[in-house]
Symmetry: C2
Subunit: 474 residues, 2 copies
Amino acid sequence: MEFKLVKLHTKLRLLNVLYRFLFTLCIASTSYATDPIDQRTADEARKLIDQGLESTIGFEVVKSLTTEVGPRLAGTKAEARARNWGVAKFKELGFSNIRIEPFSVDHWERRHEHVQILSPFPQNLVVSTLGGSISTPPGGIAGEIVSFPTLQSLKDAPLSGLEGKIVFVDEYMTRTQGGSGYGIAVRKRSGAANEAGKRGAVAALIRSVGTDHHRFAHTGQMTYEEGVRKVPVAALSAPDADQLQRALEIGSVRVKLDLHVEAKGRVESGNVIAEIPGKSDEIVLIGAHLDSWDLGTGAVDDGAGVGITVGAAKLILDLNKTPKRTIRVVMFGSEEVGLVGARAYVAKHKDSLINHMVGAESDFGAGKIWRFETNFAPEKLYLADAIHKILEPLGIGRGHNNASGGPDIGPMREQGVPAVTLKQNGWDYFDYHHTADDTLDKVDPSDIAQNVAAYAAFTWIVANLEDDFRPRDP
Amino acid sequence: MEFKLVKLHTKLRLLNVLYRFLFTLCIASTSYATDPIDQRTADEARKLIDQGLESTIGFEVVKSLTTEVGPRLAGTKAEARARNWGVAKFKELGFSNIRIEPFSVDHWERRHEHVQILSPFPQNLVVSTLGGSISTPPGGIAGEIVSFPTLQSLKDAPLSGLEGKIVFVDEYMTRTQGGSGYGIAVRKRSGAANEAGKRGAVAALIRSVGTDHHRFAHTGQMTYEEGVRKVPVAALSAPDADQLQRALEIGSVRVKLDLHVEAKGRVESGNVIAEIPGKSDEIVLIGAHLDSWDLGTGAVDDGAGVGITVGAAKLILDLNKTPKRTIRVVMFGSEEVGLVGARAYVAKHKDSLINHMVGAESDFGAGKIWRFETNFAPEKLYLADAIHKILEPLGIGRGHNNASGGPDIGPMREQGVPAVTLKQNGWDYFDYHHTADDTLDKVDPSDIAQNVAAYAAFTWIVANLEDDFRPRDP
């Protein structure tokens, strides 16, 4: 009995060894036959993921930027300090080819803003003048409120009849994980003043483009249409928009706006760039924007993105291996006021855009990445699938093939540069977006670590891939 | 078989009827023998609970006050408008003996406040000057920050060595359902400036007394000690206190404070009072405070309390029955600046305080009531148990016998008036307390309805009780 058992045991062990050998052989050959990511790169990418999840580098970079610079509005001295910070940080971390690529931008700064209900219930309202808005006349401007539930309802109104009035566009924004509510809600930011101006109104107010219910007004850029009479415009916090709505339910409401801004013409801004040089002049571009709005310290928008992409590149740097392609990290300047840095980048690098393998910007807050989106030639989607397999253990699903790549990737994407979005969970992004409440305490270090892990693995793979994402026969 | 079953069924039915009859008899006799609340009053109280839970009157009153008056700081024109609102609201609802009982209060209003880090990282900080603070000298005052983790650590410091410095007391507050963290944390509100002044410092900053992590500074009253050199003091929002803390970890920090307040001496304030006259001159007093801080619309503090107590009294009024005792509803003025209205009430009514059966103020936000606390003579606690039985179905537990009755009840409690606290869940109360974010959207109508139900039942019972809560042989 004993003897028989030992024999059986030996047989089973042999079978097991044989089975495992054949299985390994099978896996290896499959991998060799179909996986476009070579085994070494894949292993290194997985190692970067493990290191990223353990690393605090991303959070440390956000913390440093938001503490040591704080708010850094495009074109201000604070943004200039942020560029110096960027150069110093890149040097401290050991990057190569560090430089500032300067460009100019329109100056705009808020000086003071004061809005109050004059009658029937005198009280102050919390507002933020929208970026680009003109000032009210000295001493402010008063008028009766005419309310519109949506921008469309204002557009549908006759082109007269609002003379001397103050328009209030009370459109709400829908909260979604992917941020799809923003595209619709943000139209009123320029639309309210433009449509008010066309109809003779003297000023405009909007319900903030945001999803929170705290007493923070959300600022953001607005642009006057050519030839339209300019009127000043400000955003009310959600509780203040509610308050105005309730007052209007009772009767006619007169409001006074006293908004003072300063605009000094063209001033200097710039992109801060650093590299991990590769064996070729092909470029894998990751980045984020360095500027922020003036109200908060820009932790969520977009200090987080700076931390994530710089942190990811630093992990790669510490591999101490030369990638096939050059990894370029860009801190874009003056994003918030109209992608000015992104356009300057494309203008300066137009001849080498063909060498840009991919562009990916982290600019959707500090939430975990949940989807890998691409904008590749259809015949190159097998590469997306292969990269996604490596990222999947981070809780990242496979997304569509219409990735924007992030706002600052837009202009190069238009020029044919393939784009990737490592899409973050934006469920609470528009609670903080463009408010005074966008501060470091809203950033979760473990979420940043997941982002760093994903960016490091993704960037390393693309920097070492045989193939690229462009059409085979362009 | 059929016949037998029918017989059994009939027997069981008879037994059931007998059992129910005996049970009812038993309950009724028990109730008669030991319950100090007569059956009719108990039934009416239960009816008031049902009506309260269905009613929107409490929320409508908070909405009206916070919309039609808004912020209403003690001694301001806004508080005077609130008194007029109170008189009009009482009239509209059909109360009797409506009047304003005037008194005077020290005037204090904030004009502007601007605090910035000068070096090493220039940026603005979100602050609120504390009520009662003096202004900084014209043009502001600058100095190096000396940080203390607690008020106690500042008190432990030598009585010199802070000359020319700006003291920062970075003490945190603990979140609890009952608000016990407040009593400890609030000490720094007066303590920081007083201890800073004693030690030669030129100004003081504190981490806000609050539990939130948004960019709202919490204001609140501070008082200078006699003979101590006065220095200006302001509270930083929690994210700004964090920011200052991080900057201090890196090195020395210089800050500039520019705080401007106005104090015009004594001005008029008042308590707004209305009644449901009873058959005797004994008084059951419920109330809340009418004034608020200047930053928010005072929905949670204490519009909610006004809504709850006025709403409860209105339900009683609509019973259209004359209670044994007079029900008095008081909207106290100038609570926030030092219980000035409560003291004026006691001074004016000192001769009739002996007739005050009980005082109960609702001033702990807009959360559900979870505990019935009393301050009765020990031999009268059987009454507390009986009242509690009626309130229990609302999810209200039986609490201790050391109830404060609410801040404005304090002065009359000191004179022997029994107190009751219908203790609210204050878990998030100090997120909004004394901030700009204290607005109507923070008030849940269904929570207010539960409060109205409890106050209506409690008030009606006490107004019709045979016994009282004072010692049998005083």
